[in-house]
């Protein structure tokens, strides 16, 4: 691969930066924070132009003077103008923060890059040092070392910079380790780019945004800590600082209580604008990098359909039909726009029937399954149509009524076995808890039933698995446990979402056999979501093919394999035949010829 090619795949820096600047400026909070911060910086730099008095000019008659006299904000304990000192103090405080940030950023970014990119010995050493530095409260170490450091606030801020280096180090190291193995970085490496150019071109790009945000936060922390030290009396009394002004105001709190307000407000306004600017930049990067699609997953629990489907009059007349989807749409809202991922599908599942829902990833199969369960991800909802289960509309059921169906009548077996068991609870707890909650069994009954279920799904030593934590069992075992959980309340409908995809080939066959046996034994209806026609041929009575959120073809399995009418189905079938030829499929095809 050429260098040019590898660049095509890397994120483009220029466009991103421009749009981030404009998102920050268009965000009222970001813009406000930027303006306030700019004012603080300009006031500090050009302090002599703005301050009405010299910060050291003493007027005996204005000692602890109240507000509104010659000194606008009053006089301090020595008789100096509080307003002028406030403006001049900004300089010293900001310089101190700049020193701490500069030291921490330089040290943290460089060591983080080296540790993350090269790893090995340097990584272990640097990570260990970071732990040592993070262990102690900075305030106490700085106090302890203050005299030894020559009683200089700037020196103290250098040391503080060192103490907070781990913040940058850990951030950068983590990011670099993540990005190091990205394909475009591999490509750059293969194409012969030197390490320094890879770091310069690809890695710094990824690190940039989080470092900018961290810098804003660290600057805020440094200002607060520096003011704290000065408040304790460790600053240079000849230099005006916000912390030093607070110390003076504290000493005179009984005489002139309002003097406390100004330096504290200066600190708070400066730090708040730093943090808000950092937040605005972070939000800007999130919008540019991930787009609105990822933002929809931001909030908590699953939502129930917001737009109730208006089809209460529809009653399923054929008692043999268990589930009927009529013109169902599923959409995700991002801001004002709603993107439909399932666009008006019709589907029927008869009692005791196995229906295959087939299509490539992103075709809307899983979203259809979740809409039946009422478990769409946050932001998702049924946009139109009706879902009728056992003669009743369920797409607009209130949450408790829907919950009464879940587990007991409609069950679900997920795709990825390991991530679908709660890692903190034993397998046994996870099986008995729903049995007790849904079927109202006693603890003893639930345990007996769970053990019997584990034995039924072919787990060799049920008691041991019952007592195990999820991380102690294999993926195949975990999938059997999940199947046991799903059938534990003898549901009428089982929705199995890509149940074999994450498993080894030999275990796939066993799990499919188990599903077939259980389906016959309990005469459940099953919706088998899959992209694998081999699985379909193995198990399904009927098949629905999905593409782009629509069902393009429904037929019995035999008919579909023999005479696929839709070109997309034909294409899917032929691509399946190229890599694997399931036995039933061959039979079906031969029968057709």
């Amino acid at each position: 691969m050429t260098e040019a090619n590898s660049h095509v795949l890397a994120p483009t820096p220029r466009a991103a930066r421009q749009s981030i600047m404009s998102t920050v400026l268009h965000n009222p909070v970001g813009l406000g924070a930027l303006i306030v911060l700019a004012c603080v910086v300009l006031l500090s730099i050009f302090a002599p132009l703005f301050a009405p008095f010299s910060p050291t000019e003493v007027r005996i008659e204005s000692i602890n003077a109240p507000m509104g006299g010659e000194f606008l904000l009053g006089g301090d304990g020595v008789g100096r103008d509080i307003l002028s000192r406030l403006v001049f103090a900004g300089r010293n405080t900001l310089i101190g923060a700049l020193i701490a940030v500069g030291v921490a950023m330089t040290g943290g970014v460089i060591s983080g890059l080296l540790a993350g990119y090269f790893g090995k010995f340097f990584d272990s050493l640097a990570s260990w040092m970071a732990n040592v530095l993070m262990a102690m409260p900075s305030m106490i170490l700085l106090l302890a070392l203050f005299k030894a450091l020559g009683s200089s606030m700037f020196m103290a801020m250098v040391v503080f910079g060192v103490l907070i280096t781990p913040g940058f180090f850990r951030l950068v190291r983590g990011l670099v380790i993540n990005v190091k193995n990205e394909l475009y970085v591999d490509a750059a490496r293969v194409s012969g780019l030197s390490n320094s150019r890879i770091i310069g071109r690809h890695i710094l790009l990824v690190v940039r945004a989080p470092v900018v945000i961290q810098t804003a936060v660290v600057a805020g922390v440094a200002i607060v800590l520096q003011s704290g030290l000065e408040f304790l009396g460790l600053g240079d009394p000849s230099l005006p600082t916000w912390g030093g002004m607070l110390q003076d105001a504290f000493a005179n709190i009984y005489v002139s209580p309002t003097a406390i307000i100004w330096p504290g407000s200066a600190i708070a306004i400066t730090v708040a604008s730093l943090v808000l600017l950092g937040n605005a930049i972070r939000d800007g990067f999130q919008r540019v990098d991930t787009g609105p699609a990822k933002r929809r997953q931001k909030r908590g629990a699953p939502s129930s359909p917001t737009e109730p489907a208006s089809s209460a009059e529809v009653v399923e007349d054929d008692p043999n039909v268990l589930l009927s989807l009529r013109n169902v749409g599923v959409g995700y809202s991002a801001g004002e726009t709603t993107k439909e991922v399932v666009r008006g599908i019709n589907l029927q599942v008869h009692r005791g029937e196995v229906l295959g829902l087939v299509g490539e990833s992103g075709s809307g199969k899983t979203q259809t399954a979740f809409s039946i369960l009422g478990l769409l991800a946050p932001g998702g909802h049924v946009t139109r149509g009706s879902i009728i289960f056992d003669g009743k509309e369920i797409s607009n059921l209130p949450a408790p009524a829907m919950r009464a169906l879940r587990g007991k009548r409609i069950a679900y077996v997920p795709q990825e076995p390991m991530s679908n068991l709660d890692p903190s609870f034993r397998i046994g707890d996870q099986l008995t808890e729903p049995l007790r909650a849904v079927l109202g069994l006693s603890k003893k009954q639930a345990t007996e039933k769970a053990l019997a279920l584990l034995a039924r799904v072919g787990i060799p030593n049920p008691q041991r698995t019952f007592d195990a934590y999820p991380h102690e069992i294999s993926g195949g075992m975990a999938q059997r446990v999940l199947i046991a959980g799903a059938i534990s309340c003898e549901p009428d409908l089982l929705i199995a979402d890509e149940v074999t995809t994450a498993l080894d080939v030999t275990i796939q066959a066993e799990v499919l056999d188990l599903l077939r046996e259980l389906q016959r034994e309990l005469s459940m209806a099953v919706i088998l979501v899959t992209h694998n026609f081999g699985v379909v041929a193995d198990l399904c009575d009927r098949v629905a093919v999905m593409q782009n959120g629509q069902i393009i073809e429904t037929n019995t399995a035999l008919e579909l394999f023999a005479n696929p009418t839709h070109p997309y189905t034909q294409m899917l079938l032929s691509s399946t035949l190229e890599d694997s030829v399931p036995r039933d499929l061959v039979v079906a095809n031969q029968g057709a010829r």
Binding site: P137, A144, F231
Partner: protein
């Protein structure tokens, strides 16, 4: 589990040792004028030399260090350079005061942050925005300024609570609570600002996990899914957040004690720092390091209790 605790303990001992050594070397790099500073400008050269010998500062650094280390291992941190008090006795006397303040604060922070953070993660909406605002405000307001404003409002204007001082609980529980109420409040605001936000994040991460959906699919009630399963899984990150908070509180307590004239470790530290009382400062650093190690150990053990994977490793 026992070997896990022992390993952590050994790592902690190493950490305390490293911190003590580095601090010792840094603090003893400039002890040339110590005797002169202690005795004042009018002392004769002989008196200064005698004092230097008395303090052992004429010895090579390594000799001084090993003598200090040997004593420190037996719990003897030497004698304060300025008031001839035993450092160990000073630490033992002051520690309970600071700890009672910091532990009260961390308990309040934990309660408020968990309730706020988890509710915001589950419900979203206005509470979520409140947390965002609180976290910025709490971060931007220095805790000692909050303390000063509290004194201004509740002690000087409303005259409801004492502005300064400390009453030991053995004397009067109510008096103790009254003197600690404002200091603890000023520590809590900043703590909640940072902890609630992080606990919210940890809870949202857990609620996005696949197993949460699967638990819903089993027909469990949302209360059970959130309160039992999500909370248990978010407990690990939350404990880590709180342990970092505890360390931050130890630093924050220094300034807060100054505002309220509470005679704890913080006030001791500030006076020792202003005077350059090296033995006292060394004692404080070591005790703080030990405290940090112990807190981390407790958190590790608690983590092992909530997270079965940690237990096995």
């Amino acid at each position: 589990m026992l070997s896990f605790v022992i390993r952590r303990l050994l790592a902690g001992v190493a950490l305390v040792f490293v911190i003590a050594t580095i601090t010792y070397v840094l603090m003893h790099s400039s002890t040339g004028n110590v005797a002169r500073n202690i005795l004042g400008e009018n002392a004769t050269a002989e008196q200064v030399a005698a004092k230097t010998t008395e303090l052992g500062l004429d010895q090579p650094l390594l000799t001084q260090y090993f003598s200090w280390l040997g004593n420190a291992l037996t719990g003897n941190f030497g004698i304060s350079w300025y008031n001839s008090e035993s450092v160990t006795a000073a630490l033992v006397g002051r520690m309970p005061i600071t700890l009672s303040m910091v532990i009260s604060a961390i308990i309040v922070i934990a309660l408020i942050s968990v309730v706020l953070g988890v509710t915001a993660a589950v419900k979203g909406g206005w509470l979520d925005r409140v947390i965002q605002v609180v976290s910025v405000v709490g971060f931007a307001l220095p805790n000692f300024w909050v303390a000063l404003m509290l004194v201004l409002t509740f002690s000087l204007s409303l005259r409801l609570l004492p502005a300064t001082g400390y009453v030991p609980p053995s004397e009067s529980i109510l008096g103790w609570a009254a003197t600690l109420l404002l200091p603890v409040t000023s520590l809590v605001l900043g703590g909640v600002a940072s902890a609630a936000q992080q606990i919210r994040g940890a809870t949202i991460d857990v609620l996005r996990q696949d197993y949460i959906r699967t638990l819903h699919a089993r027909g469990l009630s949302p209360q059970s899914v959130v309160l039992k399963h999500a909370l248990r899984n978010a407990a690990g990150p939350a404990l880590t957040v709180l342990s970092l908070q505890f360390i931050a509180l130890l630093g924050g307590a220094v300034v807060i004690e100054r505002v309220f004239a509470i005679p704890g470790i913080g006030t001791l530290t500030v006076n020792a720092a202003l005077g350059g009382d090296v033995p006292l400062l060394m004692g404080i650093v070591v005790v703080m390091a030990i405290l940090v190690v112990l807190v981390n150990l407790v958190i590790d053990i608690a983590n092992g209790w909530v997270n079965p994977k940690v237990r096995v490793q």
